[in-house]
Symmetry: C2
Subunit: 553 residues, 2 copies
């Protein structure tokens, strides 16, 4: 018999670690402890089962204890909760079926306890119709409520990934959905100036958005429903509240173990996913990891990183000392009705908070060649530093967003630059892309910015401009200008610019914009070569217009 | 007035260079010469216009001479053919409207003459119903024939990108299409073992494929059609022949110019796209460039590289001495009915020819999480060297192929490894991918191969095995085995393997396979740890089955 390895938690991280360990070591005794009934279920699929996109419940169960026992000879123990760890004795105390407890010795321990939904101490939160979503049990419970004919109005609290997905799937089931978010915008991985596109998509599909308005109180109504009271003083009724304001590491059982935890309860690990205690590793949503971009400590409760950590920990345990984890860049994606929103790396908010200087380029290319049917515009926001290193990207659109964010995520992982973005040779045929792919385009625009050929500004720069010392110049056609423009701008169409330069005061800085940024770029080139100080609003009027969206209340 | 720059050729490379140069230099005199009537047309869209997917002919015209004159102040001269270049005098002789000639001096000359369809000297090729596709004129001509009610049978000669696209669009228009290819398979960027998937898709959609059978003669028939005679002795009738056997650089006019040409007539350039003659640059389909993977000289007549070369040449001309082109990796993609086929980097054929050793991993993951509706299997073939450097990839499937090839193309461009493939943090939500993306999966499989954990073999290795010294072991279920298996294999289902090891002769090499490769991998791990010499057929029986397809004749 080989070493005895205990794994706490049988979902993404734990199940992956168990299977990998068996492939690396036929001899090890591997015990997988799972508090609930199910292991390795499709966590990310739960909202879609409640919404009805996934109809067959059994599809959520990726593997069963029986399958793991048979094929991988894992000693899978469900309904077995680790209630404490003794790192000196190297043992785990396990509660079985919520009753009897026993101890089990380990040579190696892998902690993958995950994270649990936060339930704040708001008045009235104990109403049984205020539900969160973590596991199959929660899913069954929520679905049984949603399936009731009497349930017509749902309020989702929290505009993170799960909140937005739940709002979508419940709307698509025909329920009237309100989404309440305490911050001024949903989806924190996205910056305020582009997340409006996602907010508009939600409103256009019937979700009522109540942003910047925290919940203060829940009240049970006579019909068994809930009244939700907000800080603004407003209140509204719901038959069901879905609480999705975030997760916290489920690590209370480690309190007296000697295993180091962070301020929010995350397990601290080194690059090999080892904790401070001998033979104890940790992976998944419960650990603190380095941000791949900033190097700062962070937590990224996503399935991809959990799986990768599990593989790396298993490798290290099986005797591959070079196996290490170098952090997460937080690549994420979600479907919002017909829209895809995806991001990777740092956004402006994170960089500002960490004091990292950056540049922004924003483009609106088509998902594929415009002359081939079905091309959809996408918005791609690229963030890079003064040396051209790519720091992050955000994409929103109806087609081809996932591809572009994955390509940029790859460049970020390989520590590439905007020069690399321009050099990429991506697959082009009219149904798939353009000869200059949107990623190349973003690279070109950023390159022209850093080289000084056409320096870029953002909406923030326009907000903060000095009207005495600058001119806001719209270079679109007269017709475009007249049908809507940024306040206090003057209009000289690009094709007339060379002949009307004398109308411009060369002592002032020219803030140029067009519809998407391309004519503005040409205008800046003309202006520079005629002695003007000119910069271009990246993304143009289209960016201004999209960022200006505010939901009806 | 600034320098005088003449550009020969007004399509992808030429038009891009002209626009970029103007943005870099307001003063330069820029003359764009185009032999035909149209500049900057949508070359890659021509088949789709003939097929009817693109209905509006004007959409093919990306920009017009008038627009370029107005916005970029380019002196666009259509119907103006450069008929010779005098590099000593720095002048170009231009024929206007096919009649008068005149000379024009240049300070800088950019050659972007493109490539023209090859018309071999086969007997009967002068039949006016044997057409090729290069420009708008050809397109109009071919469409006018296709539009005739009497045209029902079309034969496409040549199974390259244009040939396959034409076969597809004409089939979708309701014509009976035969595709004739001299080589044993279509689409040379793909290896023989996976291109069969594309061939099957074509046959399943009604295209008759005649492979490995060169045309020997054309004969005009009484009805104005053509009889096509093949080397096999077979012949068949067509109302129209589309000739698409490849292109040759259109550089005859440079014969006596002193500009160095390669053996096939390609213009030779350095890394700045400069020819051997002072002030003369060349870009696009007519030039020879380095293969990014092997470093050998090659030609890549694709729009993406042409655009990139044009930008780089323009930068260099405008005084950016560091602007250089480091070669093409040949990333390409095409739609074949419901299938997408894409590739990047080198294939096995190219590497064998260049004597480069390599490994192959082949996976069949789903385009996204299997539990979310609409997931489609894709075939992803990864090629890498002994050190793990990624050399190439080929993908075929109904969804998500473009994304995975673009990600791998990015890794190749940044000189990444299979380790990088496993480390990539790509965007995951159930509608888009899996927690382990297909690209990660391919990386894992390759890593297990190179580390010796589960060495891979291909079908070629199975063909060449010594039956005396090896056992072909099918580890699928009895039911799977009985419904089809590789000849001369024995069956021990994976879940019985640990208990039936004594049935295997440990003096022989075990060539293991399962359905897609995953159970085979687990089997190899069990076998290794029990002292057997075992390897795994990458891609499994599914790969064997797909590669075995041969079209009906």
């Amino acid at each position: 018999m080989g070493r005895k390895i205990i794994i706490v938690g049988g979902v993404a991280g734990g199940a992956t670690a168990a299977a990998r360990l068996r492939r690396l070591d036929e001899e090890a005794e591997i015990i997988l402890l799972e508090r609930d009934e199910h292991i390795s279920f499709a966590n990310c699929g739960l909202p879609y089962y409640i919404g009805g996109t996934i109809q067959d419940r059994s599809k959520l169960l990726v593997t069963t204890p029986e399958m793991m026992k048979k094929r991988s000879r894992i000693d899978v123990r469900v309904k077995s909760e680790a209630i404490s760890v003794n790192t000196k004795e190297k043992s785990v105390t396990i509660r079985q079926n919520g009753e009897d407890t026993y101890e089990e010795h380990y040579d190696v321990l892998i902690l993958s306890p995950g994270a649990k939904p936060i339930r704040p101490g708001i008045e009235g939160i104990d109403n049984p119709r205020i539900l969160s979503l973590r596991n199959i049990h929660d899913t069954d419970q929520m679905k049984s409520v949603v399936d009731l004919d009497t349930v017509k109005e749902v309020t989702v609290i929290g505009g993170g990934f799960i909140g937005v997905e739940m709002a979508e799937v419940l709307t698509e089931r025909g329920l009237r959905v309100t989404l309440v978010e305490a911050s001024s915008h949903i989806l924190a991985p996205f910056d305020d100036d582009v997340v409006t596109i996602a907010e508009k998509e939600m409103q256009d599909n019937g979700v009522r958005l109540l942003l910047g308005d925290p919940v203060t109180k829940f009240n049970t109504t006579d019909d068994g429903g809930i009244n939700i009271f907000l800080k603004s003083g407003k209140s509204h009724h719901a038959d069901l509240v879905v609480l999705a304001i975030g997760v916290a590491p489920d690590t209370a059982f480690l309190k007296d173990s000697g295993i180091e935890l962070g301020t929010k309860g995350h397990i601290l690990v080194n690059e090999h996913l080892q904790t401070n205690c001998d033979g104890v590793y940790a992976v998944g949503d419960a650990i603190e990891i380095p941000d791949f971009i900033t190097g700062r400590k962070t937590a990224v409760p996503l399935a991809g990183p959990a799986n990768r950590q599990a593989r790396i920990a298993a490798n290290h345990i099986a005797g591959m000392p070079s196996s290490k984890y170098d952090g997460a860049q937080g690549t994420s994606i979600l479907k919002i009705f017909g829209l895809t929103a995806a991001s990777t790396g740092s956004n402006e908010r994170t960089l500002r908070r960490n004091g990292v200087p950056y540049h922004v380029a924003l483009v609106h290319p088509g998902s594929h060649a415009g002359y081939y049917p079905g091309a959809e515009p996408l918005t791609l926001k690229l963030i890079y530093d003064e040396q051209g290193k790519v720091l992050g990207a955000q994409g929103l659109g109806r087609d081809g967003v996932d591809k572009r964010i994955d390509v940029i995520a790859t460049v970020i992982r390989l520590k590439g630059t905007i020069q690399d973005l321009t050099d990429l040779e991506l697959a082009y045929a009219p149904p798939y892309s353009s000869a200059k792919d949107p990623v190349n385009m973003a690279g070109f625009v950023a390159q022209n910015d850093l080289s000084g050929m056409s320096p870029l500004i953002t909406l923030e720069d326009i907000k903060q401009r000095n009207p005495e010392k600058s001119i806001l110049l719209d270079v679109r056609s007269v017709q475009e200008y007249e049908s809507g423009h940024i306040p206090n701008s003057v209009n000289i169409p690009l094709d007339e610019l060379r002949d009307r330069l004398d109308e411009l005061d060369s002592s002032k800085k020219l803030l140029v914009y067009c519809q998407v940024g391309f004519r503005g770029y040409t205008a800046v080139r003309i202006l520079h070569q005629n002695g003007f100080n000119a910069v271009n609003l990246t993304g143009g009027y289209k960016y201004f217009k999209a960022a200006s969206f505010t939901p009806d209340r």
